[in-house]
């Protein structure tokens, strides 16, 4: 993974030195060589790779080319912002998407089903950044108000912090909830036609027990898979939402670092995202076992 991360970045044309000179409007070859040496990017790529790995082994994430500061010091405050936003968006999507999917399946082909399907289709069709921008512009136009433009720490001001995070979480969560709703609906429709559900109905069990205890428990596995994938995706995929709501998160900073060819920042952020993807998949796999005893027994 580290090889891919390290070398893919360097396939992009140009480097930080080109960009710094671009900001100055000229390029001077001797000054450029001097600067490349100062930043250590004059070395062969394999040597830079070994330097990076060696640093990682001792907890040294390198130094940002752009800020001339430890990469870890820059990355560290970004992580909680993105993780919190992704978690809130995921919670929002579960709270909205799963019950809507269940209702839609139970009331298949009714007006409620059509309305919910329409809402989910809209959620899938509307990009979250567009929705975010509409939310911002709508708030300005109607209330002359938008959330704070600088990050509010929850320790300083919890209500302000929540207001700042709930809107972007809703914008992102709505899209994810639409996906969850559709997955839940199709999984539920399948399960509701199973013999054991029919048996439960025949035994005279209440609809709450049949739907939520028997059917949903069996339909939830693909939903959990999607939740895991969505969460991992959100960690690196909140670029535009973080940009629109001006939240100092990982994704926004990653794009900025890519544009600046700030390799130490990009490498470490991509590595972080890769770790989150692996971890979320691991957690999903563990949840499988907890949700479905057959998985445990078969292994």
């Amino acid at each position: 993974m580290s090889v891919v991360i390290f070398f893919l970045m360097r396939l992009a044309p140009g480097d930080i030195v080109d960009i710094l000179f671009a900001a100055a409007g000229y390029v001077n070859e001797s000054d450029k060589q001097f600067l490349m040496k100062e930043l250590g990017i004059d070395k062969p790529i394999w040597a830079q790779y070994i330097d990076w790995l060696r640093g990682l082994a001792v907890g040294d994430f390198g130094k940002s080319y752009r800020y001339d500061q430890s990469a870890w010091e820059i990355i560290r405050p970004l992580i909680p912002v993105t993780v919190e936003l992704a978690a809130l968006a995921t919670i929002f999507s579960i709270v909205l998407g799963v019950p809507a999917g269940v209702l839609s399946a139970v009331r298949q082909d009714t007006t409620l089903d059509y309305v919910l399907r329409l809402v989910s289709l809209a959620g899938l069709s509307l990009p979250s950044f567009w929705l975010g921008m509409v939310i911002i512009l709508g708030l300005v136009a109607w209330f002359g108000w938008i959330p704070e433009m600088t990050y509010i720490s929850p320790r300083e001001n919890l209500p302000g912090h929540l207001v700042q995070f709930l809107l972007p979480a809703a914008a992102v969560g709505y899209r994810s909830s639409a996906l969850l709703m559709r997955i839940t609906r199709s999984a539920m429709l399948e399960v509701l036609r199973e013999d054991y559900v029919r048996t439960a109905w025949a035994k005279g069990q209440g609809s709450r027990a049949v739907v939520w205890r028997h059917a949903l428990k069996n339909a939830i596995l693909p939903v959990v898979t999607v939740i895991g994938i969505e969460f991992a995706f959100l960690i690196g995929g909140l670029v535009v939402t973080e940009t629109v709501f001006n939240l100092p998160g990982v994704a926004r900073f990653l794009v900025e670092a890519i544009l600046w060819r700030d390799y130490p920042i990009v490498q470490n952020l991509v590595l972080f995202i890769a770790v989150v993807v692996v971890l979320s998949n691991l957690i999903v796999d563990m949840l499988y076992g907890w949700l479905d005893p057959r998985v445990r027994y078969s292994s």
Partner: protein, 570 residues
């Protein structure tokens, strides 16, 4: 040889100096005897040619209120920290200026910048000597850097020796975009702790303009230049409080500032908001007090006005132009006729309307009036390629192209390169469409920003849609940088001996009335030769909240960020 002034003559010069106040300065009209004594002697032949100090156009505001934090818009994080000398972008100058002072500066209350609007800052007065070959600057006493170290002439020498890359400079900038501004400086002498002399190779009155630019702060000699990438030690009205990477840059009032009673504000917070829509929504919602220079285009200003936002708008020039670069070293643009045909084909007025929705004005190589001081008059513009009747110009372009061997059977095929950014692409697309109407087949090549300058520097382009921001509205700051033979920013490699002579002549001309027609002639010649056809000059509508007082946007984005006089009426 260094020419020094006889004390008696200097007395005359200094006495002639209007002891006008720097902006609210304490040491108004400082003791001229002391100043005289500080200047060393003195070949008898030397003459004091001019001594001048302009007074600022506005006195301290009688109702100026103290306190409050100004919330300022910022579009991107700092690229080189606060090292203004290492960048050529407003993104560094705008939030960097409050930390520093210059030797002289442009009067913050005057929109049009010229030699007449240069006022004292760290130099409380100055004197031109020996027919404008020596600029003597008398430095303010009692000024301290933010870390408490006294400011002296050594700091000035250190700074400008570093920028001009003098052989004996103490340090070196890793990127040095304005070295050429000081190419005419032969040496800098710290005559005593409070007197600095710039010795010039030949007369150059515009040196003061360059020193007044937001790009010319004085750095402390005792702080390593690399440190400015993370911190800021200046003599300016505000001290750096915190730079939260990617989020904000915050300054607090400098309690030891050398101008008593200034600044008014407790601090300034520059909020970095990457998304343009969000930036202006924040301004509209009162999360910001002021815009960012050059950001409020006409469509944005129209939208804000129609929304009923409580904002004041100031229509100003930016001293930023859109221009067409053509690689003169390679065919077909080594042929001046082909270049002229290209220039003729593009209707400049239609360009301003279509690409900028009216938020730009037509003009030649100097910013047009009323925004600029040197721009050509409307009647003169009409005679230049691309400014007259579009049909006539296009017909003439077709004729010239036919003479050069291009026509319907053999169309001129060119590649138009530009940065892959919407506004550049719009610009290039407009030109491509105009060229199509005269039978030129141009294709668009979008280049990622990081690659644009390396590509242009290597001259690996045929034609390009380019943008140029000028630090000062002075011909020297423009012609030497963008049109002089061998200049690194002369991307087209246009080099004309006659033009170079004209540039040298105007640069040395002391009489403004004589210099103006010379500059006009150069502008005409550059447009006739299609050296770098100017498409238009951008304007800005700089919105700010009504409670922001004493912030006067200039017709140049780079020079009004000091914030010393700004106060909030809340």
């Amino acid at each position: 040889m260094r020419v020094r002034l006889p004390v008696a003559l200097l007395c005359v010069a200094v006495a002639a100096v209007a002891a006008g106040p720097a902006l609210g300065q304490a040491q108004k009209g400082a003791d001229s005897d002391k100043a005289m004594k500080s200047v060393p002697a003195k070949p008898a032949a030397a003459k004091a040619t001019a001594g001048s100090v302009n007074a600022p156009s506005a006195a301290p505001h009688p109702n100026g209120k103290k306190g409050g934090v100004l919330l300022a818009m910022h579009r991107e994080d700092l690229a080189q920290g606060f090292s203004i000398h290492e960048t050529a972008t407003i993104a560094t100058v705008w939030p960097g200026m409050p930390c520093f002072n210059n030797l002289v500066m442009f009067d913050p209350f005057k929109q049009v910048e010229s030699l007449d609007s240069v006022v004292p800052e760290l130099a409380e007065r100055w004197s031109w000597q020996d027919n404008y070959r020596n600029l003597v600057l008398f430095l303010r006493k009692g000024v301290k850097w933010h870390d408490g170290t006294p400011f002296t002439a050594k700091d000035v020498k250190y700074t400008f020796d570093m920028v001009r890359q003098a052989p004996d400079a103490q340090t070196r900038l890793r990127i040095n975009p304005r070295k050429d501004w000081y190419a005419n400086v032969e040496s800098i002498e710290a005559a005593d702790p409070h007197t600095v002399i710039f010795h010039l190779k030949r007369p150059q009155p515009s040196l003061l303009m360059m020193l007044a630019s937001g790009y010319s702060p004085v750095y402390p000699a005792h702080v390593p230049v690399n440190d400015f990438r993370g911190k800021c030690v200046g003599t300016g009205p505000y001290k750096l409080k915190e730079w939260k990477k990617g989020e904000y840059i915050e300054f607090a009032r400098n309690p030891d500032y050398w101008v008593p009673g200034r600044p008014y504000l407790d601090g300034i917070r520059y909020l970095i908001i990457k998304e343009r829509g969000t930036r202006f929504a924040a301004l509209q919602a009162g999360r910001l007090d002021i815009s960012f220079p050059g950001e409020a285009t006409k469509p944005i200003a129209d939208q804000l006005k129609s929304s009923g936002a409580k904002l004041n708008f100031t229509l100003i020039g930016t001293n930023v132009n859109d221009n067409l670069i053509m690689n003169i070293k390679k065919p077909p643009f080594d042929n001046v006729k082909v270049r002229r045909a290209i220039s003729l084909a593009v209707d400049r007025r239609a360009y301003a309307k279509a690409v900028h929705q009216g938020g730009a004005v037509a003009g030649a190589s100097m910013q047009p009036k009323p925004y600029g001081f040197w721009g050509l008059l409307e009647k003169d513009l009409g005679r230049l390629p691309g400014y007259g009747k579009p049909e006539d110009n296009k017909a003439q372009a077709r004729k010239i192209l036919a003479e050069a061997g291009y026509g319907p059977g053999k169309p001129l095929q060119v590649e138009m390169g530009t940065r892959a950014i919407a506004l550049y692409v719009d610009f290039a697309s407009f030109v491509i469409n105009e060229l199509k109407q005269v039978g030129v087949e141009a294709t668009l090549k979008q280049v990622e920003t990081a690659q644009w300058h390396p590509l242009v520097t290597r001259r690996e382009y045929q034609m390009g849609a380019n943008l140029t921001g000028l630090g000062i509205d002075d011909p020297d700051g423009n012609f030497y940088e963008n049109y002089a033979c061998g200049s690194p920013r002369n991307y087209t490699d246009y080099c004309d001996e006659q033009v170079m002579k004209m540039i040298e002549t105007q640069s040395q001309e002391l009489d403004l009335k004589k210099r103006r027609p010379l500059v006009a002639q150069i502008q005409n010649k550059l447009e006739e030769d299609a050296a770098r056809p100017i498409m238009g000059w951008r304007t800005d509508y700089f919105p700010m909240a009504p409670h922001v007082k004493n912030l006067v946007p200039h017709h140049n984005i780079y020079n009004y960020g000091r914030m010393q006089e700004v106060w909030l009426d809340k």
